[in-house]
Structures are given as C-alpha cells and as structure tokens.
C-alpha cells in the first residue's frame, strides 16, 4: 500500500509495508499515483497532456521517471506487498505470558477535581484508596517473577495523584533498587503528577530515581484553571508552574514531559504549547486530545468533548505546530512534541509495529488493592478485571482477547496506511467508543493519521533535500 499526500510544499509518498518514505516532485507524484493501474504508455500519454505547458517534462523525462518508480518497486521500496499478516500475533505468542511494565495506581484519590478526568477525580468510579507498601512490593515481585528474560522493566507511579502516597513511592523505589541487580533486572520509573505537592524532597528524589517525569499542565493560565481546579474551585496554575520550573531546571536534562490535555475549550491548542515553550521555558511537550464521552446527543456528550468541527481545527493546529517547530529548530531553539518524535532509521521493528500496544499482556495496571487491569484506562471496568497480583491473571479468556489485538485485528485497518504506525490503536479508546477492544475510535484515527503526516513532513524538511 502507498499513501501520497502534500503538506507544507512537500509531496510525500509512504510505502506502508517497507517503511520507505519518498519525497518527490509533482511529476513523480502523478506517475506514482497512476503506476499500478495504467501502462507506461498510458501514463506517458496522460501526463504529456497534463504537462504540455512545461518544457522540462518531455516524453523521455516521463519514461525515465516511470523507470525510476519501477526500480523502487523492484528494490522493495514502493508498492511493497503486505506479508506481515501471518506474523501478527506470533510475537506475543512467542513472548508467552511475559509482563514487562506496570502502571501502579498508588493513590486512587486526588487533590484536584478536574472535570474531564478519565479517572473520575482519581477514584476510577470506585472508592478512594492508597496502595500499601506491602501491596506495592508484591506488585514489583509479580512483575519480576513474570518478566522472563526481559531486563528492562517499566513502572509508572500513577493515580489519582501519586504524590498523595509519596512515602510508599519512595519505599517501593528503594525496594526495587535493592533487588534489581540480583534479579538481573533494571527498573525504569516514571512519575506522573499534577504538581500540587511537589517540594524539594520530591524534586531531589524524582530527579535521581525517575527515568521520566510527566507533569500535567494544560497550557495558558485561563485554559488550565478552567478545568484543573481544587475542591474549592480554585485553579492550580499559580501553585504548580513555579514547582514544575524548579523541578525541570534541577533535572539536568533527564527526560520529562509537560503533558497537557486539550478539550472543546481549546482546540487551538498550539497557543497552549507556545505558552509552555515561550512564556514558561519548557521544551519537552505533549498535548493530548481529551478522552471522554463524545455522543451525538447533548445528553451523551461531555461538554469537554471535541466536536466534529473541533477535529478540523485540531488538524490545522497539528500543521501549524509542525511548521513552527521547523522554524524553531532552524533558529537553534528546538522544542520536542511527543507525537512528532520519529526515528526513521532506528525505530521499532515490524514485530513491535504489528503487535499492538501490549495492554493486557505485557502491560497491566495495578489498583491500590492489588487488582490487575489491562491498562490504566480500563481500571474500574469490572468486566475487564484480569486478576490480582497474588493469584496472577485468572481471567485468561480476557488476556487472550487482548493478546489477539494487533494491527490486523480490525477490518477497518485493512486499507489504512497508518496501521504500522499505530499498530491498531488504543484498545481503551476503541472500547469506550465502540464497546469492543476490537472496535475503532474513528476520531482518534483521524488525528493520529494527521500527526504522522506532520511528523514525516518534518523529517522531509529536516533532511534538507
């Protein structure tokens, strides 16, 4: 499958199954579009007529271009057939029941009361609770016991708000560091926080022990404070921004993300990204579309949900962002946007690209009382409980459903050029949009495709072709 698009003055051709990317002129763009359905003589005739006013587009030139396209096809860089479908699922079968990442919900409670929270203010539609050290330690043991030969293990301290159970977080890190060497493992920790409780102790510890820190900020003060409020209704921007700045400055270049959510209130989210960069000095940025009920009827629609009109604005915003990031890079003051990070030369292998996100098999979420769910976005869905950290996965039928989720599991993906970039997409988004993990969240797909188009356009521009 080939995907052709034009963006920011570049004509780009993606060969889905080889991963090859070609930047072409308009003549080659037309030749490639016709190549599989017309003969060389028909292509030459049609394009000779189209480019009659162009002295540089001769018949000889067109025939050379057709030969070049054929050469790329012969080299496996254009019109590459999809031979990966039989491999889909084999990687996860080969991996057995290996688990390599846990999202530890150390606190099902929060000191903010954000209306759009997919975790219902940290409670996940359940009771408030804090994870005990004993439960957390058992979760880390469960991970090590089930990680097979995997060395790198990932643990995200998540909530709710994990800093509301900070002492347990520190004890769990100390426990993991104390046993990882003898177990032949290496823990990579991430902390995701709203920032309210950040103090010098948190900064020192997080910057020493956390491989990544995810700091929640929605951007401009009026946008952030509209939804990210405490229980008295006060915005949190003023309290958290100086703390985030202090933490990032002290972090010394280690990974972090300022991670925001945009909603119906700010589909023009680049204003928030530029505020984070230009006014606040942050460079590592992630801004995500809100995940909430987006039903057609007003009764079924969360007021924060993005509308169909919003989606078109958001797509334009992704283009604005990509062009602006190119400008900043040229000026020597680049910023990073999580979704535009692509490593074309050393990126993920095809097994990763076809195997799905790993939720429910190699990645699970653990509640404060030790229940296992396929990922953080399924917590609270009783039908999606996999088991617990003492007995392991007992709902094996559900695990097999997740194991079967891959880039070829959904008929809707069969003719989508982006399937090896998303690997079938987010199972939780599909579940909440369609009722099935094998469904499709179409709005999410539209935005994903746009982001990939922008990210690849940036690579074309940066290649200085």
């Amino acid at each position: 499958m080939v995907h052709q698009y034009q963006l920011n003055g570049y004509s780009i051709v993606l060969d889905t199954c080889s991963g090859a990317i070609h930047v072409v002129d308009e003549v080659a763009y037309d030749v490639i579009a016709l190549f599989e359905t017309r003969s060389p003589d028909e292509i030459t005739a049609e394009l000779t007529e189209k480019y009659a006013a162009r002295p540089d587009v001769t018949e000889a030139e067109l025939r050379q271009c057709i030969a070049d396209v054929q050469a790329l096809k012969d080299a496996g860089k254009l019109f590459t057939p999809d031979t990966f479908a039989p491999l889909a699922g084999t990687f996860k079968e080969r991996s057995g029941d290996v688990v390599k990442a846990l999202c530890l919900h150390v606190a099902h409670t929060c000191n903010l009361n954000c209306a759009y929270c997919f975790a219902s203010q940290g409670k996940y539609n359940g009771d408030r609770a804090l994870m005990s050290f004993e439960t957390g330690r058992r979760a880390l043991d469960f991970l090590m016991d089930h990680s097979g030969s995997r060395r790198n293990l990932e643990v995200d301290f998540f909530g709710g708000e994990p800093l509301m159970n900070w002492d347990v977080v520190k004890e769990l890190v100390a426990y993991a560091r104390g046993v990882e060497e003898e177990r032949g493992k290496h823990f990579r920790f991430t902390l995701t926080t709203n920032g309210v409780l950040i103090d010098d102790d948190v900064i020192e510890f997080a910057n020493r022990e956390m491989d990544n820190v995810v700091l929640s900020l929605d951007g401009r003060r009026e946008i952030h404070d509209a939804l990210r409020v405490d229980y008295a209704g006060n915005g949190s921007y003023e309290r958290i921004v100086p703390k985030f700045q202090k933490l990032v400055e002290a972090r010394g270049g280690k990974n972090y993300y300022i991670r925001g959510t945009f909603t119906h209130r700010n589909p023009d989210f680049t204003r928030d990204i530029f505020h984070m960069a230009d006014d606040l000095g942050f460079t590592e940025l992630s801004m995500e579309p809100v995940v909430c009920a987006s039903g057609e009827s007003p009764a079924g629609r969360d007021p924060a949900a993005l509308t169909a009109e919003d989606l078109e604005v958001v797509k334009e915003q992704y283009e604005i962002l990509a062009k602006d990031m190119l400008r900043r890079k040229k000026e020597g003051r680049p910023i990073t946007f999580y979704h535009y990070m692509l490593d074309l030369e050393n990126g993920p292998c095809v097994y990763k690209r076809i195997s799905g996100c790993g939720s429910g098999t190699e990645y699970m979420a653990v509640t404060p009382w030790g229940d296992l769910y396929p990922c953080h976005q399924f917590v609270g869905e009783e039908s999606c409980r996999l088991g617990n950290i003492w007995e392991g996965v007992t709902n094996t039928a559900l695990r097999e459903e997740f194991r079967a989720c891959n880039a070829y599991a959904r008929p809707e993906c069969a003719d989508c050029w982006a399937r090896l970039y998303c690997s079938g997409g987010c199972a939780a988004n599909a579940f909440h949009a369609s009722g099935s993990i094998r469904g499709v969240y179409e709005a999410g797909c539209q935005l994903f495709r746009k982001r990939i188009e922008c990210a690849i356009m940036m690579k074309a521009a940066e290649a200085d072709l």
Partner: protein, 46 residues
C-alpha cells in the same frame, strides 16, 4: 533519481528477520497515556 529522493528508513521487511527482542518500551508507558502509537517508540536492540 532526479524527481524522487528517498529518506533513510529502517526496512521493515529486514526487521522481520531479526527483530522482536521485546526489550522496547511498552507503548503507553510514557508521556501520552491516552492516544499512543508505536511509531515513536525507541528500538532497544541496536
């Protein structure tokens, strides 16, 4: 090729022959947590 420039990319077909070590990051265990893909994950098997 005068009208076609090809970017350097990892061949997915080649990666099918020796990929799949499984050491890479789990897709959602990072910044996003709500709308991840796999394309921007790092390969740990360099």
């Amino acid at each position: 090729m005068e009208r076609i420039k090809t970017l350097e990319t990892r061949s997915l077909c080649e990666s099918a022959k020796k990929g799949g070590c499984g050491e890479c990051q789990t897709s959602c265990q990072s910044a996003c947590k709500t709308s991840c893909g796999v394309a921007n994950q790092k390969c740990e098997n360099q």
